[in-house]
Symmetry: C2
Subunit: 419 residues, 2 copies
């Protein structure tokens, strides 16, 4: 029985303990590169001190615990302790604390077939400086110091100074990539942060990868005019063009099985008595398949041009951000699915809309996969974020099974059949 020493209830208790230590009435406050985040890191260090592991903080501020196995090949397990401001009690820290519990179970059984390494990534959220995946990006070789050197927080503190205060030299952060040397697999448990599993009545899902994202500003320009003196058919109303496009964005997303969002609309002059002469909207489109995402974008762009012509306005596009889809490792996805079926009976495979540290591992050619546990009402990045305790416990059990099987794989042995 591989979870003989596993105590998933302890993970739930430890999550509550961490919440009490690093949260307040308004939610979790473990924003990276702050005292509260450092206190969470210290709390974890205290837990790790009870185990036969070696610990270190790498050049990017990531926290590692290594339990040597009979093979140097390592299975990495982790997530992040940092949170957004007023965050939830599960986002990130669930994966770290579940990994801690798995580490305890493995350690109790004597040397594992391959090495197990728990990682708590620094600054997954980018909550203070707007650059997410900083620690895992550094380890994955994708952090360009010059691209973030000028970032400042809301108080004007520069990113390099905040990192230095936590012992991280921005220009040396890339040396964290040495941590991936013997990595055979990366496994991460995370809350879904969406409503899909709840809607299906399933506690757990296997994640196929993280969606590609296309983010644009779309600006329609018509003619501002008096709302009282301009007949309807003489108008060139930029907002109505934007309204039509927003509805089209939904149709495009439905047609292609992706998601598409207009999150903000700003009109000018922006007063009740003027026909909007210009309207700018944000567009965010996501899909797990790069070619489908490209078709979504193309469909939306041509819709915007047809709408602009029909409304006699101009349209201009400006890309603000994009990232390719990151598919996870087929073998590890199947492994996660087996682990989920073993503990919960059923599993759903789903893409992740949000990015995760696992995507940086996959982009760095470390085979990666994730397990999602159901989020209540799909809420996250808010103190209302929640998951049923019994689902959290099932999630710890599923991660434990997945790690066990991954250790066999890493050691080069055929994994045991689930059952």
């Amino acid at each position: 029985m591989i979870d003989g020493h596993l105590d998933p209830g302890r993970t739930v208790r430890e999550l509550r303990e961490l919440q009490a230590l690093t949260g307040d009435r308004r939610g979790a406050q473990r924003v990276c590169w702050t005292e509260t985040w450092l206190s969470a890191r210290e709390w974890l260090a205290g837990r790790l001190a009870e185990l036969p592991v070696t610990t270190e903080i790498d050049e990017a501020g990531n926290q590692w615990a290594t339990l040597p196995g009979r093979s140097d090949r390592a299975v990495l397990v982790g997530s992040h302790l940092d949170s957004v401001v007023d965050g939830g009690w599960l986002d990130g820290c669930l994966g770290v604390l579940a990994g801690l519990e798995v580490l305890r179970r493995v350690a109790a059984e004597g040397p594992p077939p391959a090495t197990v390494r728990l990682v708590s990534w620094a600054d997954e959220e980018g909550a203070r400086f707007g650059r997410s995946l900083l620690g895992s990006g550094a380890a994955g070789g994708r952090l360009a110091p010059d691209a973030v050197r000028g970032l400042r927080d809301a108080d004007g503190v520069a990113l390099p100074a905040a990192l230095a205060a936590c012992g991280v030299d921005l220009d040396r952060a890339g040396a964290a990539k040495g941590q991936l040397r013997n990595a055979a697999a990366y496994l991460e448990l995370h809350i879904e942060q969406g409503p899909v599993l709840e809607g299906m009545g399933l506690p757990l899902g296997a994640v196929l990868g993280t969606c590609g994202v296309e983010r644009h500003l779309v600006r329609f320009t018509g003619q501002s005019a008096h709302a009282g003196s301009t007949p309807m058919d003489a108008r060139r109303d930029a907002f109505l063009a934007a309204a039509r496009l927003a509805l089209e964005v939904r149709d495009v997303a439905r047609r292609h099985g992706g998601v598409g969002t207009v999150g903000r609309a700003a009109t000018r002059p922006g007063i009740a008595t003027a026909v909007p002469g210009s309207c700018e909207i944000t567009l965010d489109e996501r899909h797990l398949d790069a070619s489908v995402l490209a078709r979504m974008l193309a469909d939306t762009r041509s819709a915007s041009e047809a709408i602009a012509a029909a409304e006699r306005v101009e349209v201009a596009w400006e890309r603000t951000w994009r990232i390719e889809p990151v598919p996870f490792d087929d073998e590890l996805v199947a492994l996660c699915e087996r682990a989920i079926v073993a503990v919960a009976g059923r599993c759903h495979r789903l893409p992740s809309g949000p990015l995760h540290d696992a995507a940086e591992m996959a982009r760095a050619d470390v085979p990666a996969a994730m397990i999602f546990v159901q989020s209540l009402r799909g809420l996250s990045h808010t103190p209302e974020e929640d998951t049923r305790p019994e689902h959290l416990e099932l999630a710890v059990r599923a991660l434990d099974r997945a790690v066990s099987e991954a250790l066999e794989l890493a050691a080069g042995r055929a994994p045991a059949e689930p059952g």
Copy 2:
């Protein structure tokens, strides 16, 4: 020939002169209760001093010139000299300066059959304190001092202090109503500020009245959610509901022959990566017929409820302002139409979306009507506001004919046939 002494070209030259005196590179700067506005008033006083008229500033700051006729019954002619900040060269002052030219022509012909009174209303625009039609409203008995006493300008100056600096005691402003004692008619020439006449290729139109206005905030409340992790069919997107309503507002306006505008939309949280949990839009609907306007509003409200149900969001309405339609006097509208046909061959009857001082006269039971002259590209409240000089001259001629006929009416005589 009634316009024997009329010099419409002089009106165009005087408009240019006033523009040079009270405007700058950014446009007209005759904001009411400022030095520049006072200098425009002084300039007009200088012109009036050359005529056999008595002048006065009433208790609300309105400027009057009276040319006594053989009857005490008076035909009032006027508009306003005040402008918005960075305004155009015609809005308001055209009507005053055209009236001045008509006054000259009438004075040159000896005592008219009835009295002619030129009026330059104070603070039509409400540009400094946000309360429009202040002077004509005071004369019409509709200025409640307590309703405006607390208003302040952008620099924190209180309205009563600004008026006092121009010799107006807010609590005595209502005494201006004495000016309407013998009023038999009120005629006002104004630029259209819309594109209708230009679209029809007509220089002049007779105004049927000012539209009723319904102004509301409409707030949709759904559920904010992660743009990446929330499938399309699990969303309760407040912006998409608002987008659908904005398009419906246009359909409603077209169906009923009115206008309807969504001028501003504000989403929350208002970021690219979140499905809008709430969206507030402004709604402005106008029609000349009160019952049709009520149907427009009812149609829009029921559409908003159907949309909210379909989108699984809530909708709430808040009225921010309304005014009843003010139809002008049938006989005077016909009189204006005859005058327009006489000088321009053709006339179009049209409602006014914007409010005008004439509406306050009509609401005070002074028979009122207006003549509109074509605006180029429908632009107003901007230095780009313009009208062809030949159309301005035609407009002065039409106003002159209308005043002549109104004087006959006021004196109780049948007007002469046009020709």
